[in-house]
């Protein structure tokens, strides 16, 4: 980004402004563009996709009326919610009540600054990239606690407290899994981590050694818990706490929480793709060396698909698994995931002492193992699909 702006200033634009202000202004402009033209439709399309995927899993259709295949449903929902009455309970704490959704929103939105969409497509390649992301996504805890407290409702309070406990606890396995990767890549910058991997699957950090393989699953589970997704969606468990911490919210404020949740899904997928799956790396095709734009677009598509795969998996998991109880959730985190993530960290450190340049044989072996697991898994899925009974249509008598 910086060389690009230097080039523009050399060519005469913005020459009256002080250089730092030009940088700052440009970054704000790009951030705004990313927000309105990428993040908002992204969260909306994710919500549509979730409802369709969920519906098909439950043997029903999902929204399919508004726009082709219902793709504009999120727009209709957004407009409807904007037009709703803004209800704040009389006994609620007005300022906190109004502020809470925005803090949650900021918590997830600020993460988009460091997501690497392509080789040069990143808003700001901070040299503490992943640390910044982990820190900023913890901001949602504050927002959720504010929402739970300020609603002046015991159910919301319970939901808010549960959520705070959950998110804070699951930061630790997530952070340790990320630390494992940072150890291998040697840098915290997102582009740096991607450049430490290659385009081929056996060059991905996922298959680097068995410990990073385990770290991936730890990261994914912990990220689901941080995003309040099933099986860890206790804070908004509909059947227990009505709607947990969002009980008293209605209209656009309510939608902001869910906007943040769906957008957060994408952040989870993007981070998983960056850290473990090689990010935007594409095979080096000599013909593309002259067309950087095409290359950029190809990298963007590859990254998007890798991230969206995990979004789809999160939706799949939501449709299948029941909810974990709060004490089981806590014991899972503290008694199982935290020791396991420490083990991964120490194992990776030992591995790096033994093989400082990495062990190609081990990587390829892990890749074959991973593919074997994936093949078995899909065979099982195929079995279930083949043995699923179709809907019975008895010719109606009436």
């Amino acid at each position: 980004m910086q060389p690009f702006i230097d080039q523009l200033i050399q060519e005469g634009y913005f020459s009256a402004l002080p250089r730092d202000l030009a940088y700052a202004g440009f970054i704000v402009l790009v951030a705004f563009a990313v927000l309105s033209f990428f993040v908002a439709p992204l969260a909306g399309i994710t919500s549509w996709l979730e409802r369709r995927v969920w519906g098909r899993m439950q043997s029903r259709v999902g929204p399919n009326r508004v726009g082709p295949q219902g793709i504009l449903q999120w727009l209709a929902d957004g407009i409807k919610n904007l037009l709703k009455e803004d209800i704040i309970p009389t006994a609620a704490d007005k300022w906190l009540f109004a502020l809470a959704p925005y803090i949650v929103f900021v918590g997830f939105l600020a993460a988009f600054v460091v997501i690497p969409f392509g080789g040069k497509l990143i808003v700001a390649d901070l040299n503490i990239g992943i640390l910044y992301l982990l820190a900023v996504t913890s901001l949602v805890v504050v927002g959720i606690l504010m929402a739970g407290w300020s609603s002046n409702n015991k159910w919301s309070l319970l939901g808010g407290m549960r959520s705070a406990a959950q998110i804070i606890s699951y930061e630790i396995p997530a952070g340790l899994a990320v630390l494992t990767i940072v150890l291998v890549a040697g840098t915290m910058s997102m582009q740096g981590i991607i450049q430490a991997q290659g385009w081929a699957p056996w060059d991905w950090l996922l298959f680097y050694n068995p410990f990073t393989f385990i770290a991936f699953f730890l990261y994914f589970t912990a990220a689901l818990a941080e995003g309040n997704r099933t099986p860890f969606d206790i804070p908004e468990a509909e059947s227990e706490l009505v709607a947990g911490y969002v009980t008293e919210y209605s209209g656009m404020r309510f939608l902001f929480f869910f906007f943040a949740e769906w957008g957060n899904l994408y952040v989870i997928g993007a981070v998983a793709a960056t850290l473990f799956l090689g990010g935007w790396q594409i095979p080096p095709i000599p013909a593309l060396a002259d067309y950087p734009v095409v290359k950029g677009i190809l990298q963007f598509i590859v990254f998007f698909l890798k991230a969206y795969l995990w979004v789809f998996v999160a939706m799949w998991v939501r449709g299948t698994l029941p909810r974990v109880r709060v004490d089981q959730l806590m014991s899972l985190c503290w008694k199982y995931m935290v020791p396991l993530s420490f083990l991964c960290l120490l194992g990776t450190a030992a591995w790096m002492v033994l093989w400082p340049q990495g062990n190609r044989v081990a990587s390829v072996a892990m890749f074959l193992l991973g593919s074997a697991i994936a093949v078995l898994f899909f065979k099982r899925v195929n079995y279930q699909i083949r043995h699923a009974r179709p809907v019975l249509y008895l010719k109606p008598y009436i």
Binding site: K154, L158, A237, E238, V242, P322, V391, L394, Y397
Partner: protein
């Protein structure tokens, strides 16, 4: 030094109180309009006191104002998810008082309709159970099957939920042979579905972990509190009205009574009660198949006077409904209006046990407990 400082005891510094929450009449997962006043200490409950009566429609008082035939639709509403059984109970009581013999075809039609209704009721029970625990997909799969049963019921008697099918003396409408073919097609389709349902949710580790060792009911408690139906069988007591105080044509049919064995946890815990309902669905399929084969020709209803006036007397009839033993205590004084109709339902006594079982559970377990007891607000309040 710190040791000599006067540090007050923790209980004097942190004054804690129990939180009293009302799990109010409007709540997505109490089964019907029920209210619980929950006293909790954080997540762990001290007690959950049920507060019923939000759906009280005074059906028993109405029974004294309408005629014998006219009360049958009211019994549907006593438990709308298992309406056939209520119909049957009242009609059996009236027939016992009036000395009326039901035709053989009528008895078989009654059993077919009742067992199909049992399958439908259990589908709702296990579906909403899954939904309360958090898995929303099984609920919709169960409802998809129940839609076919509702369509079959509509073919048989014209209504999908409150049937008014079983009348005094027999059944209201005959079952045609096309309907029998469709019922057979449904059963062929449904029996593997129970397997699929089990593969989806029943043995899922998270589901099992949520339910085992939660609120086991001992046999002594079950007898003291008069718990009936699948809840009683889950405690290990092999008691089923269809087998032990037989009525209608059940003595001629061959079916098993599934009993809880504590397979994955304590005997009589929530998981056992859940699996009872799954097994009972399979047994009901067997019963319906036998009945369809044995269906004799003949009239579906015997002649009963328009103004039905049974001689004075009392009768207590028990019917094995999907929620347990439904008892009908009917008193007649010789006129064409009943003198007293009393419906005793399994959910009423099950609710009285919730207050004792809920001590020490977590709020999430309370939901699992209510769902596993399969209480139904219209049954409790009538």
């Amino acid at each position: 030094m710190l040791m000599s400082a006067n540090i007050p005891a923790e209980s004097e510094v942190f004054h804690t109180e129990d939180m009293i929450i009302s799990m109010g009449p409007q709540h997505p997962s109490t089964h019907g309009v029920l209210r619980f006043i929950v006293r909790t200490d954080g997540e762990v409950m001290r007690e959950a006191i049920p507060d019923v009566g939000y759906l009280h429609r005074s059906i028993e008082k109405i029974g004294e104002k309408v005629t014998w035939h006219g009360f049958v639709p009211y019994t549907d509403r006593a438990d709308y998810l298992a309406a056939m059984f209520a119909n049957q109970g009242f009609c059996m009581a009236a027939e016992r008082l009036g000395g009326i013999e039901v035709t053989r075809r009528g008895e078989f039609c009654r059993v077919i309709a009742c067992e199909l209704n049992r399958i439908a009721s259990h589908l709702i029970a296990v579906g909403t159970f899954g939904q309360d625990i958090g898995a929303v997909t099984p609920f919709l799969h169960a409802l998809r099957e129940r839609e076919t049963i509702n369509d079959l019921m509509e073919e048989i008697c014209g209504a999908r939920l409150t049937y008014n099918y079983i009348r005094i003396g027999g059944v209201g409408y005959d079952i045609t042979s096309e309907t029998c073919d469709r019922i057979t097609a449904f059963l062929d389709h449904f029996e593997p579905i129970v397997d699929e349902y089990n593969r989806l949710i029943s043995y899922n580790k998270i589901f099992v972990e949520r339910l085992v060792h939660v609120a086991p009911i001992t046999k002594e408690d079950a007898f003291q509190y008069n718990i009936v139906g699948p809840n009683l069988r889950a405690c290990g007591v092999k008691w089923d009205i269809r087998r032990d105080i037989p009525y209608s044509v059940y003595p001629e049919l061959d079916f098993d009574i599934p009993v809880g064995t504590g397979e994955k946890g304590a005997l009589g815990d929530c998981y056992d009660r859940y699996m009872m309902r799954i097994r009972e669905m399979e047994e009901s399929c067997k019963i319906v198949r036998q009945c369809l084969k044995m269906l004799p020709p003949g009239p579906a209803i015997s002649k009963v006077a328009r103004k039905f006036k049974p001689p004075a007397g009392e009768a207590y009839v028990r019917v094995e409904s999907s929620r347990g033993d439904m008892g009908f205590y009917v008193v007649s004084d010789g006129s064409e209006y009943p003198y007293r109709v009393r419906i005793r339902t399994g959910s009423f006594t099950a609710m009285s046990l919730v207050s004792k079982l809920s001590q020490g559970l977590m709020v999430a377990d309370l939901i699992a407990l209510i769902a596993s007891l399969d209480v139904d607000a219209p049954e409790i309040d009538r």
